[in-house]
Chain length 395, copies 2
């Protein structure tokens, strides 16, 4: 079964806007083909499939009794540009595989496999369009509505994307997209929370000057100041357990070989499972920037871009996942997700949990992104265990 | 006279490609008006003016006897974008003012005031087109020839830009474009040499990764490596007298807020009056880059872009300038020019010297670029002294 899951993901990676790569943004034309292929497999497994007005795919596998509450399994169907074959879509294909493993057996709850239309935020710079519509949030601005219409759906009906009120919860399977499980030699990890995140713009303003005629001692080099700050950020982040801090962009003005930079504009991304730890760290990073700017006779300004609190996964679902992992004789590892996922959004409306599969080389958002067959097998075993527990719990 | 010089420079700053700023690149349309206004003043002073086929303006003030050797005085007429009113053109206007101070008196040598057509390298990315044509170097590639033709000149006649073989030499007046004279409280400085210059591209190659899912200890952050190196370059340059080292450009890939940079491409500009000191410094900077890249598990590569030796100004001309400065009761200061100037190019063909005027605030290549009337007066006095010495020497 694990090989079939991997083969399906690889085959769906061929549905792309850009030949030779996997690039499939929100409701882009190749999404039609993804829906079509998934629908064929899902109907074969006895599911009834619909595409809601946010472009989410929902495949229902009925319970033993009509009117039973649904459990949602899945992840997202869109990708970043030049993506791999597993980020997102693996969770949908795993949900389908679990239904196939049931082989027609009916449970006390229905299963709905969900493929969210948008998580990456590539097309409109706004992520989680699919899961936010699913929890009833307003997502359809003019651009999104146009995209929905162009795909053949009706944005006026977007309320049809809302999950049923009696939903049991949402279990997402996702590749880790990081190196931790591989380093630990583990196939699976249970996310107990999704890290909170701060994003800031930090600008150093110095004095642009001639690189040949200005002695080192009389410079106010904005890039040298930014460089010293980047080193401080790296050092301080490394000294706090679980903290990650990244300067991902740095723009230098005027950016000429023979001109001392007058301005350097950096972005800072800070994440931690504990919001208090994160906020203290951000303050420390900004204090470092001010101190070294002052010492160098520069000015520094900062602008908050994002302050997103950490999101806890549902305690009962996490406990059930733990039991499923240990019950399947896999080693247990609880972790924080450093990346945002649909489960983070869905958790605002229903119990949600997130199971990570090891990412070989920690590689993701790249054509080399991969997943091991034995880890997919582990996820299937744990997923079945989880369904059995849910069944027992509803007993 | 000093106020007239300043007023003329400010008036010529109005000849621009870009209203509201002074931007006047090689043989751009406003250069016609610069030529026209200078010509009017120069002819008034009894000079005969021609524009050679490289677009240089040459104004001859005859000697007492026909056939006497010429002394060239001047600088360049082009500007950077959004320039000030004095870089380059002040040297030309000062040359004219010295001729005006002679008030018709004939010397044993002729004076040719030269306004070079191109020094900044803005239009075609290649500097010193004017002075290189003046010393007989090949400058007219297809683009330059087209520009010459579009200006109404004939690139086939470019040999007419070559200076006479019997030239006495070239004296350039130029603003310092740096803060040293102001720091020392001096109006003038004599450049005894023009610093040699190395330019390199240095690229750190790390591993692009997710900013949220990659712990600090498992990163290969190319920007963090580059930042550490920039700090090392700044520290090491500051520890070597007379050395300047600048990272003026830094490009980060992929340059996204939430992605650990996989590559960082920097430029390095290193200058010193002593070529050996400069080359040792470059080696040290590259060794630092390799060491810290190795320590971090990254790779680094470098590419030399320029290795331009230091150029000594003519010893006899420098001595004559010194005598002119002390004879005029101004404080004497010999210095290295950190920037390239036409005098550096002209020195390949004839004795050349370069007198700096203090730059208020060290500001240049900026609309706020300025020069003090008393410093212009000092340059005029010293310039007259220099002419008198030349006259005495030819006695």
């Amino acid at each position: 079964m694990e090989h079939k899951v991997i083969a399906r993901c690889r085959s769906l990676a061929g549905c792309t806007e850009e030949p030779g790569f996997t690039t499939r943004t929100f409701l882009s034309p190749p999404m039609h083909e993804v829906h079509q292929r998934l629908r064929a497999w899902m109907e074969q497994a006895g599911m009834s499939v619909r595409i809601d007005s946010a472009g989410n795919l929902l495949a229902a596998y009925p319970a033993a009794q009509p009117g039973a509450a649904p459990l949602f399994l899945g992840s997202h169907l869109d990708t970043v540009p030049h993506a791999g074959a597993f980020d997102g879509i693996l969770g949908v294909v795993l949900g389908l595989a679990l239904v196939e493993k049931l082989a027609g057996r009916r449970l006390k709850f229905s299963i709905e496999v969900v493929g969210f239309s948008e998580e990456e935020g590539v097309r409109f710079g706004v992520p989680f369009i699919g899961s936010r519509a699913f929890i009833g949030e307003e997502v359809a601005d003019a651009r999104v509505s146009d995209a929905i219409r162009a795909f053949g759906l009706d944005p006026a009906s977007i309320a049809d994307a809302q999950a049923a009120d009696n939903a049991l919860g949402y279990l997402e399977f996702h590749i880790e997209q990081g190196p931790i499980l591989e380093r630990l030699g583990l196939p699976l990890g249970i996310a107990e929370s999704i890290a909170g995140q701060s994003r800031l713009a930090v600008t150093f303003q110095g004095r642009q000057n001639h690189a040949g005629t200005t002695p080192m001692s009389l410079r106010r080099d904005a890039l040298a100041a930014a460089a010293q700050w980047i080193c401080a950020v790296e050092r301080e982040a490394g000294a706090t357990a679980g903290l990650v801090a990244t300067v991902g962009r740095l723009e230098v003005e005027p950016g000429a070989t023979n001109v001392i930079p007058g301005a350097a504009r950096a972005t800072l991304d800070v994440r931690h499972a504990d919001d208090a730890v994160r906020r203290v760290a951000v303050e420390r990073f900004l204090r470092s920037a001010r101190q070294l700017a002052q010492w160098r006779g520069l000015s520094v300004s900062s602008e908050p871009l994002l302050d997103q609190p950490a999101v806890a996964m549902d305690a009962a679902f996490v406990a059930a996942l733990e039991q499923a992992v240990t019950g399947s004789h896999y080693p247990l590892h609880r972790m924080t997700s450093g990346a945002g996922h649909d489960a983070m959004v869905v958790a605002r409306r229903m119990p949600a949990a997130l199971l990570f599969l090891r990412s070989p080389g920690g590689i993701s958002h790249h054509p080399d992104e991969n997943v091991l067959p034995e880890d997919v097998a582990a996820a299937l075993t744990v997923g079945m265990h989880f369904l059995e527990q849910m069944e027992a719990r509803l007993g």
